[in-house]
């Protein structure tokens, strides 16, 4: 099973929308995808079209096995698990991650975890095959935060594959295009794919759907498709 952890470097960078669209893009390439919400905001389900009244998730149950009923499947075939209403400790989250790997699915399936921005990933027990995509926006704050994170990663004994993924990139903005140029030439661990700012990502949620389904002729579609294929090659290199 291939595990991908997505978290924002700070709040509000658009991580959950990336998880939803990426899941759909992978599904379009006939991959088996399971998306699990580890963020107490519990909004991953909303991206997949789950009604707001449906609030329970894995955190409402004591063990993972009893939470199997909370798995949903959307029209494309993506299996997702909402967080729920109760809070969960780090150990419980860690247990959930481990139990997810025991699920009776295809060995080649993808497990996408939507992690909260405030979570320190060192608390989780990640292996060297795990990919972490830290979602950033193109602004000066994220620039500083990237370097903070890089320092942190150097000092820690991290084992996982860490990448910074740019979201909401607006090429018309001078600041953003300059920053992107700098990051592309100087910043290590930058993902070669970035997601452009596209209104359809917002608009598709109004349709209770994802941009990949709603706007096949948009740049967002291309970007998520490229992200998906890049991840596939990353994972293939791991094996």
């Amino acid at each position: 099973m291939k595990k991908v952890f997505l978290k924002g470097i700070k709040g509000g960078t658009g991580t959950t929308s990336i998880v939803a669209n990426l899941a759909c893009a992978l599904r379009k390439s006939d991959e088996d995808v399971i998306a699990i919400d580890l963020d107490p905001k519990s909004d991953l389900g909303l991206h997949f079209g789950l009604s707001w009244e449906h609030t329970s998730g894995w955190s409402n149950y004591l063990s993972f096995e009893s939470a199997l009923d909370e798995f949903h499947i959307d029209d494309d075939g993506v299996i997702f698990l909402p967080f729920g209403t109760l809070s969960a400790s780090t150990q419980r989250t860690q247990k959930t991650i481990e139990s997810a790997q025991q699920l009776q699915v295809n060995d080649n399936a993808w497990l996408l975890f939507d992690c909260p921005a405030h979570q320190d990933l060192q608390d989780y027990d990640l292996s060297s095959h795990d990919i972490v995509l830290e979602v950033i926006n193109c602004d000066a704050i994220c620039h500083s935060l990237i370097y903070r994170r890089l320092l942190q990663l150097n000092q820690s004994s991290k084992k996982w594959q860490h990448y910074f993924l740019i979201n909401n990139y607006n090429s018309a903005s001078e600041l953003e295009s300059d920053l992107l140029q700098i990051w592309q030439s100087e910043t290590p661990l930058l993902a070669p794919v970035h997601i452009n700012k596209d209104e359809v990502i917002k608009e598709s949620t109004a349709f209770r759907n994802v941009a990949v389904n709603c706007a096949p002729y948009s740049v967002a579609y291309d970007d998520f498709e490229t992200l998906a294929s890049w991840l596939v090659t990353r994972a293939a290199d791991n094996d």
């Binding site: 090429s171 592309q184 452009n196 948009s218």
Partner: protein, 888 residues
């Protein structure tokens, strides 16, 4: 009636008296009644009015002329004689009636309606059956020949044959020389042995059969076979002309005949050298650079300019900055001979160097020599100010220098993104290969095989050390580029040609500018021929000399072309037998040789030049390069450098009478000659009909070629001020509401872009749209406005881009490495018959242009001529109107 008779005059009464001898009173009254009716009422002439009643009486003897009959007869007559209108008895109408009656009598034409399909179908069915049968036979035959040919080739791989080939006995020099002698002797004998007419006929048929069988066979060996056959046939032809066809008896014919013979010798020489030059194009592949960029040399880019507008030079300078090369090793300089302050400002703004000099001596060469004093790059790349380089230019070319120290020049093709005068005025753009495609696509590649590539003034890189060795750019001639390359090759350096276009520029704007440019090249080449003759002097190998000579000979085609265009008139006007041979001999020698040569040329030049267009190009230039080349051959130092204008705009469609005067004069001479020939054919000596016919065929061919040349002078209207370039690469747009759409760029210019969407789009005119284009990993966004939309296509204009955005735009469009890569791929292989048809249609277009654009003094004359022609045509018999018989 009684009242009427009271007013009769004396003449009438006398006439009535005479008539009453023959006819009854009633009939006499009838005659007078009809006469008055016709004369006064219908305004028919007196004679007609007198005759008509008698005609009616005559007819009434046979047919009962009551009302019903009259009506039916009238209707039928109207159908049978549709072009005759009231009044009937004008002279013109009488002629019409007579001719139509003859026509109806001779050709049985029915007035009943026949469904048109059957008539057409029966005739065309027969033709189409014959055609399909011929095509079937043709396919089977060529396939059989192809198989036979392949079997021969496979046979050549057999062991015994290989053993003979590889035998070391061939290494003996003595044997080689002996073999060459034997072959040369055999060739000489073969060429000079005179054939009787029957033998010639058989020989020619064999040659043509071989040519036919090799039609579908591809491959180098078949081409070489065809070339060999052409060489032998044309050499034999020339020998025959020299020995057998000069009329020593008649001094006029002798003089004219010698003139024609010299022209034909020139054509033969150019043909042979051309075959030799292009027999094996090298198609050199670019060599990649070393991955260690610290070893890369420094390059200066020169952009010489004189009087071109800023808008033309700016994209070139910006694109030059974007060439893929370490920035510290790349220096760009605008060399401004016009010393314009706005150019200095532009250079400062963009961040490139600017050089000017106190004087303007020696034009471009002097400019560059001056610049060499102030720059020190190891290599110099030169771009004309309108040639926008692609980013991969240096990557493609510098590898040759790194690989071989002796290389001093790498040249790339000159490609045009705008239409040259031929393409624009004849509407040929991208439909047939243009004039310089032959040179850059085939000839330079062939030159490269023999290490005889020469510098063409732009889109090339030169080694500075080589230039220093020869003392800088050559300034003695007006084509300093070819002369510089010649000098460098004499010093022992090598040159290279990469047949991948890395830049594109503007073609000449108008026919006069085009001719002016060619005059300069022709003069320069003639100057080089006199001042630094490649046949003499040291430093060149034999093949290099021949290649240079061929390039120069090409520009001496003025006189031979004029000779060819006027030669048949010698027979028609002066009755001078310039080819002193019986009609059959001429037919057997000339026609097959021409056909064979045309077929071989078509095969060799296939994608680069279509048949018969070469003659058109030559005819357009012939008169103009005549004088400069002759003057330059005699006195090479006369004549000045006139710069080619670039970047102008034609705002009206007009006809360039000044430029086309020579062609019109030649055309007139030929047309008058044709009429005179027809006259002689009908009324002259019967024995000369054969040669007259041949001359007439030649004259009509000349008329077609000249007509096409005349057509070029009609300048078409240029609508856009910036030229559009076709493209095909992906991009995206972001609308004002934030949505994005993936698009395809279909064309671009320096101020606008044309895009195509996959599905329908919600955009409307004047919407603001962000255009997202990428270059490599960088993505750029450009603010644009929609200027027009159609179902799937949108036109965008860029407005008010700042310098950084302009740079980015050029990087994303003009500078792309694959921008010009399909410059040749659209053209299908040449098909001579289609090409001839195309030239013919162009020629007709030329004639209509002449008439359409005629100056106002001629207009009444033309209208008169048109009216006369209309009138004469109206006299001719017409098909009776068909009508539906309601009883069928």
């Amino acid at each position: 009636m009684i009242k009427h008779s009271d007013k009769k005059s004396v003449a009438e009464r006398l006439f009535a008296l005479i008539l009453s001898v023959f006819f009854t009173k009633k009939i006499v009254r009838f005659i007078f009644f009809k006469f008055h009716s016709y004369f006064n009422h219908h305004k028919v002439s007196a004679i007609g009015a007198i005759l008509m009643p008698f005609v009616l009486l005559f007819i009434s003897l046979f047919i009962k002329l009551d009302n019903n009959n009259k009506k039916r007869i009238k209707i039928k007559l109207r159908h049978l004689y549709p072009h005759v209108s009231e009044p009937i008895s004008t002279p013109a109408n009488i002629i019409r009636v007579l001719l139509q009656s003859l026509y109806l009598a001779i050709f049985k034409v029915s007035t009943k309606h026949q469904p048109t399909e059957t008539v057409i179908k029966t005739s065309t069915r027969l033709f189409s059956r014959i055609f399909t049968l011929l095509a079937f036979v043709d396919r089977k035959l060529t396939r059989k020949c192809k198989r036979l040919w392949l079997r021969l080739r496979i046979g050549s791989k057999s062991k015994s044959y290989q053993r003979v080939r590889k035998a070391t006995i061939w290494n003996s020099k003595f044997l080689k020389i002996a073999l060459y002698f034997v072959i040369a002797f055999a060739v000489f004998v073969f060429i000079t042995v005179p054939f009787s007419l029957e033998a010639q006929a058989i020989y020619i048929s064999l040659i043509l059969i071989v040519a036919y069988s090799l039609r579908r066979v591809e491959g180098q060996i078949a081409t070489i076979t065809m070339i060999t056959l052409s060489v032998t046939t044309s050499t034999r032809y020339l020998w025959w002309r020299f020995t057998d066809t000069l009329n020593w008896g008649d001094p006029v014919a002798l003089a004219l005949g010698m003139g024609l013979l010299l022209a034909e010798t020139y054509a033969w020489l150019v043909l042979i050298l051309g075959f030799f030059q292009t027999i094996n194009p090298l198609q050199r592949k670019p060599i990649p650079m070393d991955s260690d960029t610290s070893k890369w040399p420094t390059v200066d880019v020169y952009i010489p300019t004189y009087n071109e507008p800023l808008s033309v030079v700016k994209p070139t300078a910006i694109a030059a900055q974007s060439i893929d090369w370490p920035a510290d090793k790349l220096n760009i300089y605008i060399l401004d001979d016009g010393k314009r302050p706005e150019f200095a400002e532009l250079a400062k703004e963009i961040g490139v160097g600017y050089l000017d000099r106190p004087d303007n001596s020696h034009a471009k060469a002097g400019n560059m020599n001056h610049a060499m004093k102030y720059t020190d790059g190891e290599y110099i790349a030169i771009f004309d100010c309108d040639h926008i380089p692609a980013r991969s230019f240096l990557q493609m070319t510098m590898g040759q220098f790194m690989n071989d120290e002796k290389v001093c020049l790498v040249q790339t093709p000159h490609h045009f993104f705008s239409a040259d005068p031929f393409e624009r005025n004849l509407d040929n753009h991208r439909k047939i290969p243009n004039e310089n495609m032959l040179f850059y696509g085939l000839i330079q590649d062939g030159n490269d095989m023999w290490d005889a590539t020469f510098f063409c003034g732009s889109c090339a890189v030169l080694k500075r050390k080589a230039l220093d060795d020869i003392g800088g750019f050559a300034v003695e001639t007006v084509t300093e580029d070819a002369h510089t390359a010649l000098r460098m090759q004499r010093e022992g350096y090598k040159t290279a040609y990469i047949n991948i276009p890395q830049a594109a520029g503007l073609a000449t704007d108008s026919l006069s500018a085009h001719v002016g440019q060619r005059i300069r090249w022709a003069r320069g080449m003639a100057q080089i021929f006199r001042l630094d003759n490649p046949l003499l002097g040291k430093g060149l190998s034999l093949v290099q000399r021949l290649c240079y000579i061929n390039a120069m000979l090409h520009f001496l085609s003025g006189i031979p072309r004029i000779v060819f265009l006027t030669a048949p008139l010698a027979l028609i006007y002066f009755n001078a037998y310039i080819i002193y041979a019986p009609f059959i001999a001429i037919f057997l020698y000339i026609v097959p040789t021409l056909m064979q040569v045309k077929i071989t040329n078509s095969r060799v030049q296939g994608k680069y030049r279509y048949s018969f267009w070469g003659e058109v190009y030559e005819s357009v230039l012939a008169w103009y390069i005549l004088k400069p080349t002759t003057v330059a051959l005699i006195n090479p130092n006369k004549g000045k450098f006139n710069v080619t204008e670039k970047g102008g705009l034609n705002d009206t469609a007009r006809y360039d009478w000044l430029i086309s005067k020579p062609y019109i004069v030649l055309l007139l001479i030929n047309v008058v000659g044709m009429c005179y020939a027809v006259f002689r054919l009908l009324f002259g000596d019967v024995s000369q009909i054969g040669v007259l016919l041949i001359s007439m065929i030649w004259v009509s061919y000349n008329i077609i070629i000249l007509g096409a040349a005349v057509a070029v002078a009609a300048e078409a209207k240029q609508v856009r001020s910036s030229h559009r370039i076709k493209a095909n690469f992906p991009a995206a747009i972001r609308l004002e509401n934030g949505r994005t759409i993936k698009v395809k760029i279909t064309d671009y210019s320096d101020s606008g872009v044309g895009i195509e969407t996959i599905s329908e789009h919600p955009c409307r005119e004047n919407d603001k749209v962000e255009l997202l284009m990428s270059r490599g990993k960088k993505q750029f966004s450009f603010p644009t406005y929609i200027c027009n939309t159609r179902k799937n296509q949108i036109g965008l204009t860029l407005r008010d881009l700042d310098l950084a955005k302009q740079k980015a735009f050029i990087q994303c469009t003009f500078s792309r490495a694959d921008a010009w890569i399909d410059w040749q791929e659209n053209f299908k292989h040449d098909r001579p018959s289609y090409s001839f048809k195309h030239v013919f249609i162009t020629s007709l277009r030329g004639f209509t242009n002449l008439i359409y654009h005629a100056p106002s003094q001629f207009k009444p004359f033309i209208i008169l001529m048109a009216n006369i022609i209309n009138f004469v045509v109206s006299l001719l018999p017409k098909k009776p109107i068909k009508y539906y018989n309601q009883y069928d």
